[in-house]
Subunit: 228 residues, 2 copies
């Protein structure tokens, strides 16, 4: 498989549930809808990458990008998971999770407090990307995931930087989304309790961009940043 | 150890680095400072919990709370990691990671793009909490982590709810923080390139609380919500 990009799956339909992607509880919150999964992934840029080291789990935050039915993460060629994935099959078993918090759900009862959220969990085996063209596209996707349009407005990696960066690929095959939306689910007998109940929306907010002190004169804030 | 809360470590000093908590790269971004770790943990409420199932990693988002030198996560007694931890030693090896994104760092070069962030990674073995008093305190901490002061303004779990909820404890022993702060680190020869460079602040924002439609009349928005 190394260095041989295979055709991506069609962007419609749903992922096939597997033993690992069917939750043991709250099954009604699970979804395998491809468009929903893509939307949740595309709204974020920091994932939590899990792998096993010496039999124990390790979870690290890292940037990611999506191209079609593939996720990419990157790092120094010296970093632990990237070294562990190496260039040899069978690759590194990983779990990549992306979570957005949308609201705090305050019920009258402590028990029914909850969070409105959307998450995606991807199980699979990560492989180092060896094809230069795929690697270049993945690096662009990683930058554009954080700031859409930015990869075209920055100096691309030179040969040395390109060689110092390792990229892992994870196919979107064993994938599920999980989400909670809506309001409070209190017990009927709790509705008259003297506690405020409702939802506090939570969102990601961008502040005013702060230009580098040594920014060359005459460079205006680009439109793609003003639009954030 | 089960059911016998041990004294918590003093809140000063630093965690002892271990093989797992010393990063293979960017070591200057790592910290073992106890106050810093506590501050990062206390600012959040969603962690990413990693464990190993059938030899493969699983990473799930879940709520957490901190009491002294212990983290707590909770869930249905039927949920997978909580069943796996069970009530028997040696418990469940886990990795709990909490990440805050503080800014997008836009360099002139794609290579030097980065994220300002603060994260904490905790390695250890999770055990089910069996002591009722500790479990009750943990459930309060879980609610108060999301909304400080809320546990005192809600109906506590009744016996049935209490029994249906499992709580896992993870001691803060093998812990590290990692953070990036500051501005852009471009190569000197890139400073005159015609690309905007700087930092876009990112923060968590709370919207206006939306009261439940069936909220009993006369219940005002509590101060702890107005202060969010």
């Amino acid at each position: 498989m190394q260095g041989t990009p295979k055709p991506t799956a069609p962007p419609s339909g749903a992922y096939a549930p597997t033993d690992r992607t069917v939750p043991t509880r709250s099954a009604k919150r699970a979804s395998y809808d491809r468009e929903l999964v893509h939307a949740i992934l595309d709204e974020g840029y920091v994932c939590h990458l899990g792998f096993v080291r010496d039999g124990a789990p390790v979870v690290l935050p890292t940037l990611y990008g999506r191209v079609g039915e593939r996720l990419y993460v990157h790092g120094s060629t010296g970093s632990r998971p990237l070294r562990m994935a190496g260039q040899a099959d069978p690759g590194l078993p990983v779990c990549v999770t992306v979570t957005h918090v949308d609201g705090l759900v305050l019920a009258r009862s402590a028990f029914h407090h909850s969070i409105n959220y959307r998450s995606v969990v991807v199980h699979g085996t990560a492989h180092q990307v060896t094809d230069p063209q795929e690697k270049r596209a993945a690096l662009d996707a990683l930058v554009d995931h954080v700031i859409p349009g930015r990869s075209a407005d920055s100096r691309p990696a030179d040969a040395k930087e390109f060689a110092a960066t390792a990229v892992l690929r994870l196919d979107l095959e064993e994938v599920s989304a999980k989400l909670r939306t809506g309001g409070v689910n209190d017990e009927p007998e709790d509705l008259s309790l003297p506690h405020w109940a409702g939802v506090v929306p939570v969102r990601r907010q961008y502040g005013t961009p702060v230009a580098a002190e040594d920014l060359a004169p005459g460079i205006a804030l680009p439109d793609y940043l003003a639009a954030l």
